[in-house]
């Protein structure tokens, strides 16, 4: 989606018709619009979302007053006027004109909230227009409403994107934008399709197939219940973890608890490492015993086997090292290797024939050779196993000691916090302990549900194989079975694609986020995106990674970095070859329209952010005040600016409040006093 223009008609303080061209290219993607406080920057931002979705953000006051005050006042009672926003844009190869307008009738001095209608047209290749039948639906499919939070936002409020508790909502929108949501939904919906298909199989498929299908249906129900429970558990765990983290954070910040908490953070990290080390050693021991453990029972096996073989040779019970095939050849040729003729039933013939019985077959000989070859290294291998086992047992014991020691230290630190004379520290610690135990219960339940979920999945696969092999004579039932098999294969593939995409998206977003954030921030903080797409900021303190209590400014920078990363990834992924097939070259491209881009950042950060802005999206509309946007900011952005504008404030205030703004060496009106009415004028500078 690339916006070409916006036209406002009597929209809030923008009276009459006012148009601004926003068409830009990749070299100069920025449109920079200045406006004083209250000039209408937030209104202009909201004009975009009102046109698209018919709503404005919560921070817009007096939302019923949609028509410009002066227009409303001059309208006679009973008369009507128009309020509208028109957007032109292109998206995935189509040009669109979107018009949301309302005819507002004046019944009293107070405005009633209008009920706007939306219309959408596409422009065809021959230049003619075609009305889109379900305009709102098309808009939602172009840019889903939730996703628009990443592209139309107020810089001062953007930190909400990364605040604790926000990510479960944000996570869903990220999934939409990064093509995960449709895969998840398909995985949820396909079992219902399968259920409908297999109803025929149950009805007409014969006793055996019907019985198997009933079992599959039952398993599917259990699978759905387990999946739902897992989702609830994951949500609960995320909330509890957040709560625990915020309690721990309070302990970190508490003057008297902070040193103990810091020590405990370090101990917890070491404890995790020690427990992981111990588990790894135990696993290694199990694997060693599973693969080579039998050697322990081969104490005198080698000697016994050699002795037995020798005795058998001596008794003639073991085949002589002479091949039966060789004796057969001599008998066939009728001559011994010593030259004696071997005529049938003569004495030499009988003697050689006698050897035939004692000679071994090639296969027996080879087997014996192999076995005897393995006897010798057997005792060496046994010794080696003994040494390896000793080393692992020692490691397990050392890691075990380390775990016990750290557990003791942690208990002591826990105790210190619990025994604190300060009541609030005690309360925080009690709360943390309570959260710990609740998390532990949830984790256990999660583990058990996951295990049963995996088992059910295996059983379904097994039953499906049984179903494929069951005899089905009815044509309708056979068709239903083939369709169900198809649906199940696709569902399995989608599950795999979801797992691959989720991890790919998370790691790429994480890397991109680190990159963008690293370029802007001046502090040694590292952002990290967790597996559940939760966003946090860390700092390395003496080898321990600690969560950083973020300031509003840091949250704003983190959010901007996040938006930049999401925007970039949304474009990138759609250029890759994926299950959805080929997509238009501009798929995943969206503009970013930001009000108060620099929020409450200081000058140093403003400069760094403006440097990063130009690379954030293929099209950027930046709304700033003079105090935020001049100086270094405009210096950084100007090479990328294709359109420059000012929202001139016309005020009825008397006195010397008029002000100008100097852009590219020329002064332009910024605030004009003693006007007939309070309104905004969108002027084009460039």
């Amino acid at each position: 989606m690339r916006i070409h223009s916006i036209k406002l008609t009597n929209f809030r303080q923008f009276n009459g018709e006012q148009t601004f061209n926003l068409r830009s290219d990749t070299l100069k993607p920025v449109s920079l619009i200045f406006g004083a406080n209250g000039a209408g920057k937030t209104t202009l931002l909201n004009a975009f979302t009102w046109a698209l979705y018919g709503s404005m953000s919560d921070d817009v006051e007096e939302q019923d007053r949609m028509v410009t005050d002066i227009v409303w006042r001059s309208l006679p009672t009973g008369g009507s006027t128009e309020v509208a926003v028109e957007l032109t844009f292109d998206h995935e190869g189509h040009d669109y004109r979107l018009l949301r307008r309302a005819e507002v009738r004046k019944l009293s001095d107070d405005q009633q909230r209008p009920s706007p209608e939306v219309q959408l047209w596409t422009t065809k290749a021959d230049g003619s227009s075609e009305t889109v039948g379900a305009p709102q639906e098309r808009i939602y499919s172009i840019l889903p409403r939730g996703v628009s939070r990443f592209f139309f936002f107020n810089g001062e409020r953007i930190e909400k994107l990364v605040q604790k508790g926000a990510y479960s909502e944000v996570q869903k929108d990220i999934k939409v934008l990064l093509d995960l949501e449709q895969v998840e939904r398909a995985i949820d919906h396909l079992p219902k399709v399968d259920r409908r298909l297999t109803a025929d199989l149950k009805k007409h498929g014969g006793e055996k197939a019907s019985e198997i299908q009933t079992a599959i249906d039952d398993l599917r129900e259990r699978e759905t219940a387990s999946r739902d429970e897992l989702k609830v558990l994951e949500g609960d765990l995320a909330t509890l973890n957040e709560e625990r983290e915020s309690v721990t954070e309070l302990l970190r910040q508490h003057a008297s608890a902070a040193p103990i908490q810091k020590q405990r953070d370090a101990v917890v990290k070491q404890l995790d490492e020690a427990r992981t080390g111990k588990s790894a050693a135990i696993l290694e021991r199990a694997s060693l015993i599973a693969s080579r453990g039998f050697l322990a029972f081969t104490d005198d096996l080698a000697k016994k086997t050699t002795d037995m073989a020798t005795a058998l040779y001596q008794k003639g019970a073991l085949p002589a090292p002479l091949k039966r095939e060789f004796v057969d050849q001599l008998l066939d040729d009728g001559r011994c290797i010593c030259g004696t003729p071997l005529a049938e039933h003569t004495e030499p013939w009988e003697k050689v024939k006698d050897w035939r019985q004692r000679a071994g077959l090639q296969a027996v000989e080879t087997a014996w050779q192999q076995l005897s070859g393995q006897i010798a290294p057997l005792s060496g291998a046994r010794l080696e196993l003994h040494e390896s086992l000793q080393a692992i047992v020692k490691r397990i014991s050392l890691e075990g000691d380390r775990v016990s020691r750290l557990e003791e230290t942690k208990s002591e630190l826990d105790g210190q916090l619990m025994d604190s004379r300060l009541e609030d520290v005690q309360q925080l610690e009690s709360k943390r302990i309570d959260l710990d135990s609740r998390i532990s219960v949830k984790l256990q339940r999660t583990g058990s549900v996951k295990a049963s979920f995996e088992q059910i999945k295996k059983e379904i696969v097994q039953k499906t194989v049984e179903r494929s092999n069951a005899e089905v004579t009815d044509e309708l039932a056979a068709k239903a079975r083939a369709r169900s098999d198809l649906v199940q294969s696709v569902r399995r593939a989608l599950e795999e694609i979801l797992a691959i995409r989720s991890e790919d998206m998370r790691s790429r977003l994480d890397a991109e986020l680190k990159d963008v954030f690293g370029k802007i921030t001046i502090k040694p903080y590292i952002p990290r995106l967790s597996e559940s797409f939760g966003l946090a900021l860390y700092q390395n303190v003496n080898g321990v990674e600690l969560a950083v209590p973020k300031s509003t400014g840091e949250n704003q920078i983190l959010s901007l970095s996040f938006v930049a990363a999401v925007s970039k990834l949304a474009r990138e992924i759609r250029k890759e070859r994926r299950a959805e097939g080929e997509l238009p070259s501009d798929a995943g491209t969206y503009p970013i329209v930001m009000d108060a881009a620099f929020g409450s950042l200081d000058h140093k950060y403003q400069q760094e952010v403006s440097r990063a802005l130009a690379q954030m999206a293929p099209q950027l509309v930046v709304l700033v005040s003079k105090s935020q946007g001049l100086g270094q900011v405009i210096g950084e952005l100007m090479p990328y600016v294709s359109h420059l504008g000012v929202i001139v404030t016309h005020t009825t205030a008397e006195g010397d409040v008029s002000d100008d703004i100097e852009l590219e060496g020329i002064a332009h009106p910024y605030v004009r006093s003693s006007a007939d009415s309070d309104h905004a004028e969108l002027t084009v500078i460039k």
């Binding site: 949501e181 919906h189 396909l190 399709v193 369709r483 593939a493 694609i497 299950a579």
Partner: protein
């Protein structure tokens, strides 16, 4: 089934033509209705299955 190094392309290549067609169609249908949280997809998806295996 899932291995650490398998890519989306690997998964797609392991499917039959019919499976690939259905997978693509299912994603198209779901993508078009992402904004409707209460979307009941069963009929549309069933239609897609029957188109591929008439």
């Amino acid at each position: 089934m899932t291995t650490a190094n398998r890519t989306e392309q690997d998964v797609l290549q392991a499917l039959t033509d019919e499976e690939r067609r259905l997978l693509k169609r299912v994603l198209e249908i779901e993508r078009a209705k992402l904004h409707i949280s209460a979307y009941e997809a069963t009929d549309d998806l069933l239609g897609a299955v029957k188109e591929i295996l008439p």
